[in-house]
């Protein structure tokens, strides 16, 4: 039986949770909501994160558009994703939700815009 103490990152409350693992079952205690349980189980089996960054915009009113992974991706893929994000560029206009990179770094998850950027006045 293995025990792990985690801080839930599901919301700003940051509940301290305890995960107990044996061969078949994973039990979570200390969480105050369902999200906590889900997070803790995932964290000990396949930890994932949302990655946020920004991508250069050509011809926009702003130099950059903020982006995120549409869903959480495996922690081990964060830097592979960042490499693709950092070399990406997009043409204005950009709308929230627009896909900037499809299937980023082979995760099956897209990078989407989180901000509207209109065409620049130039």
């Amino acid at each position: 039986m293995e025990k792990r103490e985690l801080i839930c990152i599901g919301c700003p409350l940051g509940c301290p949770v305890t995960v107990t693992m044996d061969k078949e079952t994973i039990t979570v205690t200390g969480n105050t909501c369902k999200r906590g349980e889900d997070y803790a189980k995932k964290e000990v089996t396949n930890p994932t994160r949302i990655v946020t960054s920004s991508v250069r915009v050509n011809g926009g009113e702003l130099a950059m558009v903020s982006v995120k992974t549409k869903e959480d991706i495996p922690k081990g893929k964060i830097f592979d994703c960042m490499a693709e994000i950092r070399s990406a560029a997009v043409e204005a206009p950009v709308c929230i939700g627009d896909v900037i990179i499809e299937n980023c770094a082979g995760t099956g998850v897209s990078i989407v815009a989180t901000k509207n950027v209109n065409r620049g006045k130039a």
Binding site: C8, P12, S54, S66, V67, R86, K115
Partner: protein
């Protein structure tokens, strides 16, 4: 000069100003104007590109720009007028607002009610009086965040961060993702000022050490930062000789606290609070000057934007009631709120028992990290609430809800005390 007149003028188009505007419109006020100094609405959320916003308000996890866009959409839908690139330079107690802009030059606007929603700013290096040189490469974390996220520029390659407030933690991750090496985050206090989740996902995920009870005691480099010296501090928060450690770096980010952007508030002549650095307000979130309301980080620094929106909604609703002359008659019955024994302040600072809403949310912060302590409320010396909290931390805002019906059981009530108790 012909003076422009509006029912409600809102200073600041960030999360507080936007939520206040929407609430005032929903309460029936047609003539509202938002004044924003930047070139777009949304305020500081525009550069907070990380996720974690909106769980309370929208029941989903959003990034800062997405959270802002929800409120911007509401403002657009309600067709609430706003002026960008417009800086308010003065507000007086008669609610005359002086503004300056490229397009319109200098103007004075007469407001029926003013809602202060200017947000907060970062404490600079001087506030810490860090010795050493004054080279390039010392940034407050928010300035670096703007340069990176909005302008797409790189502020440094090897980084030390002083202060474990949320912006510092977020920037530690952000710079790491962008290829910089964040060597250490140092925190003067024995606990972090940031949210626990940010320590996990911004520092622990990337193996960035957090050194509690440490501070920067020297900055090296004549032109650009070349290194800093860190030292441990004792219980008196003074460096302990012999604990100095050198870190080579080209950048020092400071995340050493936020303070309400209070110049205009102060200029309006309203009563200020020494602890929050914002104005004192009553349960209507009205300052000591009639018709001037305050909400969001200009009132007191919040930990979550969701609470800013909630507070601003109340300010907008109350300002609407004020300009519509809907406030009920009757003599005021002011009750003073006091913070004692481990509680640093409360917002609001007074409640008018006669005119209060059915419920008043009292927000506060504690002075230290406490485990298994009670938060207690006393009505004129009688304990009326006693709630055990597993953990209380200065980085996180707490709240207690007071009900009008409870207060009315004490017809001569003068003072409500909020405190922490061991048992």
């Amino acid at each position: 000069m012909l003076k422009e007149v509006h029912d409600i003028v809102i200073i600041g188009g960030g999360p507080a100003g936007l939520a206040a505007a929407v609430a005032a419109r929903k309460a029936g006020v047609q003539d509202i104007l938002i004044l924003e100094r930047d070139s777009s609405l949304g305020g500081i959320l525009n550069q907070c590109i990380h996720n974690g916003f909106g769980l309370h308000t929208f029941k989903e996890e959003l990034t800062g720009p997405e959270y802002a866009s929800r409120y911007i959409a509401m403002v657009e839908e309600e067709k609430i007028p706003y002026r960008l690139n417009t800086m308010v330079i003065d507000i007086n107690e008669n609610r005359e607002v002086t503004v300056i802009s490229r397009e319109n030059g200098m103007e004075t606007i007469q407001a029926g009610a003013v809602i202060l929603a200017m947000g907060c700013r970062e404490r600079p290096r001087g506030a810490l009086n860090i010795p050493g040189y004054r080279p390039a490469g010392i940034y407050s974390a928010g300035t670096a965040q703007r340069l990176m996220n909005i302008e797409g520029l790189s502020v440094g390659k090897e980084v030390v961060i002083l202060g474990s407030g949320d912006i510092g933690l977020i920037m530690a991750r952000r710079m790491t993702l962008e290829g910089a090496k964040v060597k250490v985050v140092a925190e003067l206090m024995p606990y972090s000022g940031g949210l626990k989740r940010n320590i996990v996902q911004c520092l622990n995920d990337y193996g960035i050490p957090l050194k509690l009870s440490h501070t920067v005691v020297d900055i090296q480099g004549k032109e650009r930062v070349t290194g800093i010296t860190l030292a441990e501090v004792g219980p008196d928060r003074k460096p302990i000789p012999g604990t100095e450690e050198h870190y080579s770096c080209d950048t020092l980010l400071l995340s050493v606290g936020l303070i309400p952007e209070n110049e205009l508030t102060r200029g309006a002549g309203v009563e200020m609070n020494r602890v929050t650095s914002g104005p004192n307000v009553n349960d209507q979130l009205e300052t000591s000057a009639e018709g001037i309301f305050a909400c969001g980080n200009v009132l007191h620094v919040h930990d979550l934007v969701d609470y800013v929106s909630e507070e601003a909604t109340l300010a907008g609703t109350n300002a609407a009631a004020y300009v519509q002359n809907r406030r009920s008659e009757g003599e005021a019955h002011p009750v003073t709120l006091k913070a004692e024994n481990g509680i640093r302040y409360t917002v609001p600072q007074t409640i008018d028992m006669e005119h209060m809403n059915d419920k008043v949310v009292v927000r506060f912060r504690v002075a230290d990290v406490y485990k298994d302590r009670y938060v207690s409320v006393y009505f004129d010396g009688e304990r009326v609430a006693h709630r055990k909290k597993k953990v209380l931390a200065p980085g996180e805002m707490e709240q207690v809800i007071l009900k009008k019906e409870e207060l009315q059981k004490y017809p001569d009530l003068k003072e409500i005390v909020f405190c922490t108790e061991v048992e």
